[in-house]
Symmetry: C2
Subunit: 230 residues, 2 copies
């Protein structure tokens, strides 16, 4: 995203349409050359309260940004997909956990160097501005869903947003869920059981089909869009 000057489309449910598919036209600057770090499923990239030393770009897998409440409740703020950046912002410390939902790879960039460079380079600063603006739009979209929509609307919208990310081939789109039910529940402000019930309902309505729990076949994307609230 930072590497592209394309218009950035905000997207519901935490993600953004990744620009990783669009080869960056700019010369690879120093911020494209950080070291790669492998992250196992459920491993943390950083924790709430950690000093914000690095910004990370997702290279592979999915990272969940989340806030943990004292009594164990958890809200996932967004899922970061390949091409997305996490750890942007101006605070000294992270205020969220960043945890891989599945095996992942991230590129580590020095936050201090990034900001120092941005204070001299207006175009880099503007890229930061645009990146955070896109995150803001995504967070607000999710807020609208969680604040106003029913469980069915939220889940339908979430599946739709995943399907736009996946390579939509033939009439029947297949989405591989790269996270657990509990992650989806914590993103949408629901419980695992409600997520499970709603998926079952979508299946009995023949809107989707689920194979081995993680492979969602979208049989009627039009109906799914209606259920998501247009």
């Amino acid at each position: 995203m930072l590497g592209s000057s394309q218009a950035i489309e905000a997207n519901v449910y935490g993600g953004r349409v990744s620009s990783s598919a669009v080869p960056t036209s700019e010369p690879a600057d120093r911020f494209e050359r950080g070291t790669i770090r492998r992250i196992e499923a459920k491993e943390h990239v950083f924790c709430d309260g950690d000093p914000r030393t690095h910004v990370f770009r997702i290279e592979e897998g999915v990272i969940a940004l989340s806030k943990l409440l004292g009594d164990g409740r958890r809200q996932i703020i967004e899922f970061a997909y390949p091409g997305d950046y996490i750890g942007l912002g101006t605070l000294r410390e992270h205020i969220f956990d960043a945890q891989a939902t599945c095996a992942a790879k991230v590129r580590c960039l020095s936050a201090a160097a990034l900001e120092q460079e941005a204070s001299r380079d207006a175009s880099l600063a503007l890229r930061l501005y645009k990146a955070v603006s896109a995150e803001l739009a995504a967070a607000r979209s999710l807020l609208v869903s969680v604040g106003q929509q029913s469980a069915m609307e939220r889940l339908s919208g979430f599946l739709l947003s995943l399907s736009t990310r996946a390579p939509s081939e033939s009439d029947e789109t297949v989405v591989k869920l790269p996270m657990r039910r509990s992650d989806i529940a914590d993103l949408l402000g629901l419980t695992i059981e409600t997520v499970s019930r709603t998926i079952t309902k979508l299946r009995t309505m023949r809107v989707i089909d689920v194979v081995r729990g993680t492979e969602v076949h979208i049989l009627d994307s039009e109906r799914l869009a209606e259920l998501a609230g247009q």
Copy 2:
């Protein structure tokens, strides 16, 4: 906020701690000199879908940023208070409504001029970056509340956030609510009735007192903080 280089404190429930109290140390640049526009209660500053021609700084009153769903449901994204900016971002068109909850004044700044200047001036671009980062933090905080907290927790937290904004004098903080119950409900993802019932409960618990519907006296801020989930 843009006018200050101070650290920006993110705040739950849509607002930010305004920097308007801190006199800007920088020379008044062109973006501090837009024309002032008076807004009546319930009047729109801009609407969802309008071309994004201006950025506005709140001078007086409160502006509610909100998204209207097809069937009338509404989610308020944030309340903007004096010193805050609305209309930032990189999209061509607004994707939210901006409506005054009470009589207000805003300063109008050309979006095109702002962005053109930012593409040359790294420090301005960084200020935009920081401003949007603060909005992002606020949006995420609200998301956590709406996604995970009970009606009582959300309302207590909202009242607390208002009290930190108000001049906290003696032992008994007084908060003047600059918006209607429906605005609070739409911010917190509740109904008017639930807001009303919860306020009544807080009153019978002698945590707050309400005078003429709009004046909230916080009698036991410690208890209120507990109810808000610490």
